[in-house]
Amino acid sequence: MASKVIQALYHDDDVLMHAVKKVRAEHHHIEEVYTPFPVHGLDKAMGLADTRIAITSFMYGCLGLTVAIVMMNYIMIEDWPQDIGGKPSFSYLENMPAFVPIMFELTVFFAAHLMVITFYLRSKMWPFKKAENPDKRTTDDHFLMEIGVHDNEKELTDLLWETGAVEIKVTEKES
């Protein structure tokens, strides 16, 4: 289904922030904002829900830690007991200090990689996907705000010019 959207371009992140607040105050629904770099506080201004990626990161970290413990316990304690530095090595706990670097690294490895993969999946990004970005300039020095049009094109256009937009266009968007 194609929907009609209005796209306003801005030159400056401060102007954009004020514009976002103003548009929200007028009770229009902002569909998306495209920026060349992360703008602090934009998520709050747009009223987006808090990210839950931190929670997944914690769970992935716990998973990595578990994998490290199970793996080292099997390799170094059960399958082929190793004498590490002449220290007692009959249980995992007694040898635990020797495994701390591995436990740490696998925790970080799992948390980082799985978090990135989760982020891609959640953002519906995969190889050879066609870019959703409506205007290439938002990867350079422009900021773009996209608002759905529901028979209020004139009103929205006026409002957006007022907020300091440098360019406004209305297009049909496939979704």
């Binding site: 602090h40 931190a54 914690f58 530095g85 220290k87 200090p97 701390v100």
Partner: protein, 450 residues
């Protein structure tokens, strides 16, 4: 302007008074003869029943320890064994109140020094978020003067053989110890005190001068004082990193004169840094709760709590780096350091790890919790207690060995120096407006928001 509330002032005086009484009890009940020392240990063993078996085990560890002439004699198992062992026990028991005094004195001094380093970093980095907290930091660093003098006096008394904490100060011990003779060029009482005086002099000078410039900046009409402060702070950081490292070798590592660790200076630094930042957060939250520092918002608290979290992890990293290399390299004179701690100090040793690592890791991980004042305060109390235990574990095994416990003199030390610290810090806070007027970054700090 801040006015020192009467309740806090009276509270600090009561703490100091109680502390003096407890410390006095500790000093008076220390044995003065071998017989008294044996009687104390015997009474202790009777009270605990099976305690004796455990003692025998820990003595086995002591023999490997070999840190002093008394220990060296022990290993030979000859007739002199009992006599020298008893004398060693006497020294340990006589050290107990001194070590309690020293641990507490050093702990609170270290907080002020850690804050000074944090303050100098903010100055040298020209940080925009922190100028609102500069007066709080300057208040805490004012404790450097009394705290530094007390530590210095304890060191002078040690050199005068009032206690046996630093075995290398005993000429008799050095005469029978080749390793100590080799270190005598550096580790001798005169040079030791000269170094201590240089360290303390440099730190106190920077603190007083920077404070002067900071106050002058408020009254001036250009930024020259601010720029001067920036330059002095950068210079101080170089001086501090070298002297802090040497201070930790001198004042703490030399308690075990045979043992050495190359990253010990960093390890002590991490401890003082995280304790200092914790105290900045706690004092700031206290002042805010009394209606001062109204410009400080929860983003400032969030940043301090992030530092508490980060430096706690940093401390653990250094602690573990030191531990793992020594533990698995397994060189006798190095690994005894940890054998003594595993055998005789199980509880404080592992409690410290939980309090300084596991607890802050889990409690301060969530971003939202770092903005909740009471949460930061509770986490801060645990972190401070954990780092007291850290210093305790650095000092006690070498000075009192398996005779440690946390009793009246230890609590007295904490109360006395805690009271003095609170009194001195809050008294200094009344001396100048809590918000700097003309710091060029004050606007940025006021609008700090994340």
């Amino acid at each position: 302007m801040y006015t020192f509330s009467n309740r806090l002032k009276i509270g600090s005086f009561i703490a100091m008074g109680l502390g003096v009484i407890f410390l006095a009890i500790g000093f008076l009940s220390a044995p003065s003869t071998v017989e008294e020392a044996k009687a104390i240990v015997a009474a202790h063993d009777d009270g605990h029943g099976g305690g004796h078996g455990q003692e025998a085990v820990s003595h086995g560890g002591d023999q490997g320890h070999g840190e002093s002439a008394a220990h060296g004699a022990e290993a030979s198992h000859d007739e002199g064994h009992d006599a020298s062992h008893d004398e060693h026990l006497l020294h340990q028991l006589q050290n107990k109140p001194w070590a309690a005094l020293y641990v507490a004195a050093f702990f609170f001094f270290m907080i002020a020094l850690g804050v000074l380093a944090f303050y100098a970093i903010q100055r040298a980095a020209q940080a925009g978020w922190s100028p609102l907290l500069f007066r709080v930091m300057e208040g805490i660093t004012s404790y450097l003067v009394p705290g530094g003098i007390v530590v210095f006096v304890i060191l002078v008394l040690s050199v005068m053989h009032m206690n046996h904490m630093f075995v290398w100060m005993d000429a008799d011990v050095v005469a029978h110890d080749e390793l100590l003779q080799g270190k005598a060029g550096y580790l001798n009482p005169t040079f030791f005190l000269v170094r201590a005086a240089i360290f303390l002099g440099g730190w106190i000078f920077y603190r007083e001068y920077s404070r002067k410039l900071s106050l002058a900046q408020d009254e001036s009409d250009d930024d020259s004082n601010f720029i001067k402060n920036f330059r002095w702070s950068a210079g101080f950081l170089v001086f501090y990193l070298v002297t802090e490292s040497m201070m930790s070798w001198d004042w703490i590592m030399s308690l075990d004169p045979h043992w050495f660790s190359t990253l010990f200076g960093w390890y002590v630094f991490a401890s003082m840094f995280v304790s200092g930042i914790t105290v900045i957060a706690m004092v700031t939250i206290y002042l805010k709760s009394k209606g001062y520092l109204e410009q400080v918002n929860n983003s400032h608290i969030h940043d301090l709590a992030k530092f508490m979290f980060g430096i706690s992890i940093f401390w653990t990293y250094l602690w573990f780096a030191q531990f793992m290399l020594i533990w698995y390299a397994n060189i006798p004179e190095e690994v005894t350091y940890y054998v003594a701690r595993f055998q005789d100090f199980k509880l404080p040793f592992f409690a410290m790890l939980v309090m300084n690592f596991v607890f802050p890791l889990l409690v301060l991980m969530n971003s939202d919790y770092k903005r909740v004042n009471w949460f930061v305060i509770m986490a801060g109390i645990v972190v401070l207690a954990g780092h007291y235990l850290d210093i305790f574990n650095m000092v006690m095994p070498a000075t009192v060995g398996d005779q440690w416990y946390i009793g009246l003199p230890e609590i007295g030390g904490i109360l006395f120096f805690g009271g003095l610290f609170v009194y001195w810090v809050f008294n200094t806070l009344t001396k100048a407006p809590l918000q700097p007027k003309r710091n060029p970054f004050i606007e940025e700090s006021r609008h700090f928001h994340y």
